[in-house]
Symmetry: C2
Subunit: 543 residues, 2 copies
């Protein structure tokens, strides 16, 4: 079986692997082009610091001898586990500002070692931070802990648990270890003709356990939107024992134990493996690019599609400004990327009816903008495959933007259809005003990434000149303005990016107070020393 | 708006309304026919006792003056709220054996009255049993409480909260009070051209709040199987305050608060209302009856259908013995009731491909067994409409069977496809052996009520001569044998009937131990006096 290549290292400060980082000259050239494309004044690109130049405080913890062989306090390990991959993470890390390095990075290779690490943390009074791909954009893996309460922090990196352990082709399911990143997982499923088909933007680096812990959003724009629906059962190690559900296609026996782990963001236990529902590889695919005069018209078409029962796999509505930024020539029109896929049947009837819906709202699908044919697992040969290639490249581009002094951040939410139109406008205008107040320029664009019969999941992209040296204050102000607007207008603080530490203030206003108390009590029961990922979702009471 | 008709009373001992009960002569005649049809020896039908003949212990509680006008300790109220509608409930109640009558039945008319009743219960040390339609078949509403721990029991009947409060046609959602029974709820949605389309077998009597509390299974055989997927947000009153989630089409903000209430069976709070996702009324329907030589062949076809992405609304595979009992002339073959419905598009392509799948496994859909045409909300004009009429009539027939001395009980579960074939055989044979050991005769039949890509939900029906006067011991032995077999073979103790008190022993072996501890801690936090539905799901620690 293919497993992660140990010889490549991920960049300590940004997206992807070290060997993928462009040279300083290349970045300089790209930076000029990007700023010009965005309409910003030229600026020199900065260079990321060298790892050697970063000074770290001495580790406050030393692992017991029995765990020394799976633990490291090397600078690369500590720095690369010190933050996630959000804008404020990259902006700090490329300048060598490492606010909260873990003292130790542990890499358990099996469940007993996970248990042993948790025991050590509990004994030592250390915070234990489960770590998958480290791709959190909400402060989910940063050991931002209360120094008075914890003796230090241990990042528990699950990458050694990266195998597909069993495949059940009859039920189309597989038992997969939590540390498996997207490509390794798909590589191991491919020989069986099966695929998880969960392709979040972080797919290359993020892991199954991270997806489950954060309720990640994936490939499908309708129906199987979150990883939640793909989970058949989960195993986790809590500080007070294992948490293992039965493998079942459906159950009505009490509140779902799996749904309580889904979204728990590492505060209840370390997810070690899961039985996941798989798909057969698609044999038929059809896609179309549909243009609408206005976002509102496209939105009405998408609402009708979402309520039609047709269940397109792709149904992403992109506003005119965002379509222009990403290079689609759409003459000020909004773009709907529409696609169906099936391993079972041709999709002519589905697409024909979907295009009827679009046409009824003025949508035009130009000749050449429709692709029908055999599908491969990543859809590389189709229109939506091109879309996905750009989608997966975005984090790489983001790194270059950060070096070029571009403030680039996204946020996402969900809202019911009755409020969606005014919601998007209010939130967009509020965020754009915040950008311009601070940096004198900036745009906020929107797309619907996922759609439900009762509402869309709007995803906003913010671009502005960065306030060099003041990026964090800029981020704080813009993030607060945007999040306040989302919460005030009835949205959720996150549809699929998770809560982490960065969304806490707004999450606390959103979730039912009684549920927060219930969750805190549940956590205190399974994690009595409150070692697991403190500060994420709730503030645990330390025993 | 139409609300429940106050002038009709439900039978205190069995299914439906008092004015629907057949006369003694009619029951006698039907009973003879039923026993003959089942191949059992003739026996006289018994008659249910009159309410006046039932002696009840004096109520141990008296409501405070402020609540007296919504409380009753009248015999009809106490007896009719003393148990659910399972076999062991009906068998006791028709003979006037009322083991655990509530002391008081409270009928709050708004949330402040729910709060006031809960406060009174907490102050008085009384158990508080939320009560919707009273249709539990698992002991979910019976005040089977520890006398040493509670001063008495109050049944909180939610029927006064039976209104649709708001309809949002754009998002296709409605805010509905929890006490609304199926017909009242659909009557109020009909003028808007919308429908919840949640039709459990208990539809006529059961309520929205009950469905949510028990994760009821409804109309759709695939995709929207449980009520879970129809819930947009929930409000509940806990003994320590309200629990109210935001109205959202989707969210990834922490573990879902709604999914923690779904299946909570009244132990966390009294559900008072919910925003529910609705459907447009179907305009196209197509259905077929497909016959298979063996259940195994039908099962393979259904597996393929469940993994096809076609998502039939009806996909119920019935074994030969059950098809024969219910009067379908199928010559020893298994019957698949297959149907599609849509408010958006004709379904020819869907049904054509589904029948191809069936044919590939030897399925035959005779001429005359296919129906295509405009659909009405209950499908009365179609093949699956006839199926549903029989389905909804079953509980009435059950009452007559009980009087006729027929042991009749069902149980249901779910299992992954890889194990489904041997699972069904093992469980069926074990249950049938238990029936025959005790009563010398008996059959167990099986159908798949719901199917998922990774497995079916098998539903078993047991019929045997009742051991007159020993029905409860008979039930205990058969239930234990069947449930042991289900749990030992990897199934769930319930797919959609809930846990209640009757499934506790097996639920305790099924759920993750760490989750049980988390749930107990969460309950202790929101219900610190442990008044809510004690004994259901968990044994609360009394504070």
């Amino acid at each position: 079986m293919c497993v992660a290549t140990a010889s490549r290292r991920v960049k300590f400060w940004g997206w992807g692997y070290e060997d993928e980082q462009r040279s300083a000259a290349e970045v300089q050239e790209a930076a000029a082009g990007i700023r010009q494309h965005l309409g910003f004044a030229p600026a020199d690109a900065e260079a990321p610091v060298e790892l050697d130049a970063i000074e770290l405080p001495a580790p406050r913890l030393e692992p017991p001898a029995a765990l020394a062989h799976i633990c490291s306090s090397e600078p690369y390990e500590r720095v690369s586990h010190a933050q996630g991959k959000g804008y404020r993470d990259v902006v700090r890390a490329f300048r060598g500002r490492v606010d909260n390095p873990p003292d130790v990075v542990a890499r358990p290779r099996d469940e007993p070692e996970v248990e042993a690490v948790l025991e050590w943390c509990a004994d030592a009074g250390a915070a234990a931070i489960p770590y998958g791909g480290g791709t959190s954009v909400v402060g989910g893996v940063e050991p931002r802990i209360d120094e008075g309460s914890y003796a230090g922090a241990v990042s528990i990196d699950l990458h050694a648990l990266n195998r597909v352990l069993e495949v059940d082709p009859t039920s189309r399911a597989a038992r997969i270890q939590a540390g498996a990143p997207g490509p390794a997982l798909e590589d191991q499923l491919r020989p069986h003709g099966l695929t998880l088909r969960h392709f979040p933007q972080s797919f290359e680096l993020s892991t199954l356990g991270g997806w489950i812990a954060t309720r990640a959003g994936g490939h499908f724009a309708t129906r199987l939107t979150h990883v939640d629906d793909l989970v058949e059962s989960v195993r986790a190690i809590t500080p007070s024992g294992e948490w293992a559900s039965r493998r079942l296609p459906g159950s009505g026996a009490g509140p779902s134990p799996d749904r309580f782990l889904l979204g728990s963001e590492g505060i209840l236990g370390v997810i070690t493996e899961a039985w996941m529902r798989l798909q057969a590889r698609p044999r038929w695919r059809t896609s179309a690019s549909v243009l609408f005069e206005t976002f509102a018209a496209g939105s009405e078409a998408v609402r009708e599609l979402s309520q039609s029962g047709l269940e397109p796999s792709n149904c992403r509505l992109i506003d005119a400004a965002e379509a222009a930024v990403t290079g689609a020539a759409v003459d000020g029109r909004s773009l709907l990327v529409l696609g169906f896929e099936s391993a079972d049947h041709p999709l002519d009837a589905w697409m024909a009816r979907a295009l009827e819906c679009c046409n009824a709202h003025g949508g035009e699908a130009p000749e050449g903008a429709r692709h029908t044919g055999p599908g491969d697992e990543r859809g590389r040969d189709s229109g939506s495959g091109a879309w996905r290639a750009a989608f997966l490249a975005a984090p790489y581009l983001r790194d270059t933007m950060v070096l070029a002094g571009v403030f680039t951040e996204t946020f996402e939410t969900a809202i019911t259809w009755d409020r969606a139109g005014s919601f998007v406008e209010e939130v967009r205008e509020t965020a754009e005003a915040a950008l311009r107040d601070i940096a004198g320029a900036g745009t906020v664009t929107c797309r619907f990434t996922h759609v439900y019969p009762d509402g869309p999941a709007p995803y906003f992209t913010m671009l502005a000149p960065a306030v060099r040296g003041g990026e964090l204050e800029q981020w704080d102000a813009v993030k607060a303005a945007a999040s306040d607007a989302v919460i005030a207008a009835g949205g959720t603080i996150t549809h699929h990016h998770a809560v982490g530490r960065d969304h806490r203030r707004w999450y606390d206003r959103q979730r039912p107070e009684a549920f927060a108390r219930a969750l805190r009590a549940a956590k205190a029961e399974v994690d009595p020393r409150a070692i697991l990922n403190p500060g994420v979702l709730i503030d645990p009471a330390r025993g």
